[in-house]
Amino acid sequence: MTQFVADPDEAVAGIGDGVSVMIGGFGTAGQPVELIEALVRSGARDLTVVNNNAGNGDVGLAALIGAGRVRKIICSFPRQSDSHHFDAKYRAGEIELELVPQGNLAERIRAGGAGLGGFFTPTGYGTLLAEGRETREIGGRHYVFELPLTADFALVKAHRADGMGNLTYRKTARNFGPVMATAARHTIVQVAQVVPTGGIDPEVVVTPGIFVDTVVELPSAQPAPEEDGQ
């Protein structure tokens, strides 16, 4: 059953030290900034974070990294024009980086949520990122073996939730949210609006409520804040 809570601090109260947290978003689109800020306030440390990037500017994931709470990040694109918090921690040797091609990252998260033991992907074969990895030729094509990714928690930004926890998203802010929601033991979602059960057409639900543990309504959290360059 999905629980509805009053504020972001209550939503993230269960996140302790040393856990793994998937965080939705591609840059700032779909990034659950208010939930991450609550996580910063909570004081949880020694976190392993899964996100496409490694923070932008000084808010959200960048602030979490800047505060020294992230031990390891699993992502595809850490280096950006405004990733100075990550850059500094990385060059100081204070954060571990696992770099995964973006499609393999998305597929590993999906595999985690789907109960698979791993899969063979053509992406990355013959590159640095596949060094030392198991490879296999299947049907004349070369593949690399990838393991599934799961996490203790997922923080996701969606658009609307109904009383059952069913979710819809908004435009390209959908990105990693739907797969991350399936791959965490506890999924925490911020939405711009909670509507009564029956208020979302069953045909257009993107994330069914079965994947949603906690919802917090944050009307002000919409739309995504502006960000710098690429």
Binding site: N52, F77, G103, R110, A173, E227, Q230
Partner: protein, 226 residues
Amino acid sequence: MTDEAATLSAAGPLTRDEVARVVARDIPSGSYVNLGIGLPTKVANHLEPDSGVVLHTENGMLGMGPEAHGDEVDHDLINAGKIPVTELPGAAYFHHADSFAMMRGGHLDICVLGAYQVSAGGDLANWHTGRPDDIPAVGGAMDLALGAKQTFVMMDLFTRSGEPKLVPSCTYPLTGLACVSRVYTERAVFLLGDGQVRVRQTFGTNVADLQAGLPGVELVDATGRA
């Protein structure tokens, strides 16, 4: 050779916008296309409005329109370079696993990418300089390189310091193996495949001069002017 192609060939090296126009004209009507960040985004400016070309962006959209300005800007609607864009009629949104399944599954017709180097065998290097102090970031580069039915590269033929970027084998870390089928540069269009590098078209140069500047890469003249 069309009149325009003949004109381009005579006029000297192309500008980047002219290269983008050559690429755009090679994209068949109705194709599904991903334009990589950087140089390849210029191709969009040269697609005819009635081309029926559908643009894909890795962050979960088909039917992407031009860059957004003013009131159009919506920070939930961005492209892979995280620039606000617009939505065309008939667009569709999907999540990241579906977006990359679409790429990896070979459903896009063409992907246009920038490059540090391309090898004669079609290997691509475009994600990492290999410098030890560089923070590596791969993003969707490796997925894009091998996902589409055809991968086109759009790049300058030489670095600023004059080193060729079409090489016998890449010295930069690879993005993908044997994935590039065409290379568009300011001096020529190269067709890669079957172990050959065929020169389809030259701009203000000729195959002999190109060959002199590209040591170790054996060029085949396919300009029809040989």
